[in-house]
């Protein structure tokens, strides 16, 4: 079938602002939007720029706005978008070229969450692992699935309004460690999230949950962190 793809284009060496270019190409309904972009780049217009790596929904590098909603191009089928596709960069981050956003501010917020395991106790003598029950492991299973694609953070109206807000992805990363029974820095992370640009900026709009390609219940994770902050309990 013939499809019409309208793509946001911006060349930092020539353009003052972005514009849209429309391409008409052949595609199969089982093609992914990423296949369509690859086709355009390979056969129609080699200057088109976008990020992608794994092409299988694992690396999180091809988040973009497809028909007005954040998605991974590699997980979105033409069958689901229809024959008219509009592709734009995610909102709320600077744009380097075409669909390539500058991810630095996003990862800066991520780093603020101390997104690594912290435990000052010596490693157990009799074993090489710090043991944890299945229930304890299940407590944070959901948030281990995050691939840091930024679909959630760049769909959040609070983040659009204020780029200083750490954003849902950072809170999801914090959740992963806050609720890990082996970790010892939950208080530290909760204190960071209690700052002005922290969790209080979430106004429960749910855009983030809907946008997450890993189906993480982002708003719920944020809600649990909010409760932990209020009650001081991590159950």
């Amino acid at each position: 079938m013939e499809i019409t793809v309208k793509i946001f284009r911006y060349n930092p060496e020539k353009d003052q602002r972005g514009n849209y270019v429309t391409y008409k190409v052949e595609a199969h309904e089982n093609d992914r939007v990423l296949d369509v972009l690859e086709y355009i780049k390979g056969k129609v217009d080699g200057t088109l720029s976008f990020r992608r790596s794994c092409a299988h929904g694992v690396c999180g590098s091809d988040a973009m706005r497809i028909n007005g909603r954040n998605m991974l191009a590699c997980k979105t089928l033409v069958r689901d978008t229809g024959a008219n596709i509009t592709v734009e960069p995610i909102l709320g981050l600077p744009i380097k070229k075409d669909l390539i956003s500058d991810m630095e501010p996003f990862f800066d917020n991520y780093k603020k969450m101390l997104p690594y395991f912290i435990n000052e106790d010596p490693i157990p003598e009799n074993g090489r692992e710090r043991l944890q029950s299945q229930e304890e492991r299940a407590r944070f299973d959901e948030t281990t699935k995050c691939i840091l694609c930024a679909c959630c953070t760049t769909s959040c109206p609070s983040y659009w309004a204020n780029g200083e807000y750490y954003g849902p992805a950072a809170i999801v990363s914090a959740h992963r460690f806050i609720f890990d029974s082996r970790d010892q820095a939950a208080d530290e992370r909760l204190n960071i999230l209690a700052e002005t640009d922290g969790i209080a900026r979430c106004h429960t709009a749910y855009n983030c949950t809907e946008a997450c390609p890993r189906e993480i219940k982002v708003t719920k994770a944020i809600g649990e962190v909010k409760m932990a902050m209020i009650t001081g309990k991590l159950d």
């Binding site: 060496e13 007005g68 909102l91 769909s155 109206p157 855009n207 949950t209 809907e210 708003t219 409760m227």
Partner: protein
């Protein structure tokens, strides 16, 4: 080089968010509407006279009442939903259902009120 971070209101409103996004937008409109109403009220009492009378005339008009009642009722009911979900995060699994319930409560209450306001206001 590159384009700066920029999210215009139009771009934000164009985002195709889920049902919760609409309630988020209406919640802000509700808050803004109440802010406008209260400001007009204060200004009317403060200045009085013809200016105050004109302001009074605007916010006592039935059309404005229909608008402000929307703002107050929606803001209250939506706020209640968010508060409940914030206090019991487990319920966030049912956020879509919660939004349906919210509309089911809001729409009849609002329609009854609009009916009364218009009947009285428009002298029906």
């Amino acid at each position: 080089m590159g384009l700066k971070r920029d999210v215009s209101l139009a771009a934000g409103l164009r985002y195709r968010g889920p049902a919760g996004y609409l309630t988020f937008i209406l919640h802000r409109i509700g808050g803004l509407g109440m802010g406008i109403f209260i400001t007009m009220h204060i200004l009317a009492s403060f200045f009085g006279g013809r200016f105050g009378g004109t302001l009074n005339g605007i916010y006592e008009h039935w059309a404005f009442q229909v608008f402000i009642y929307f703002c107050v009722l929606f803001h209250a009911i939506n706020g209640l939903r968010i508060t409940i979900l914030d206090l019991w995060p487990k319920l966030l699994d049912y956020q879509t259902e919660a939004i349906w319930i919210e509309w089911a409560v809001f729409i009849p209450l609002y329609l009854i009120a609009v009916y009364v306001i218009v009947r009285v206001g428009a002298g029906g």
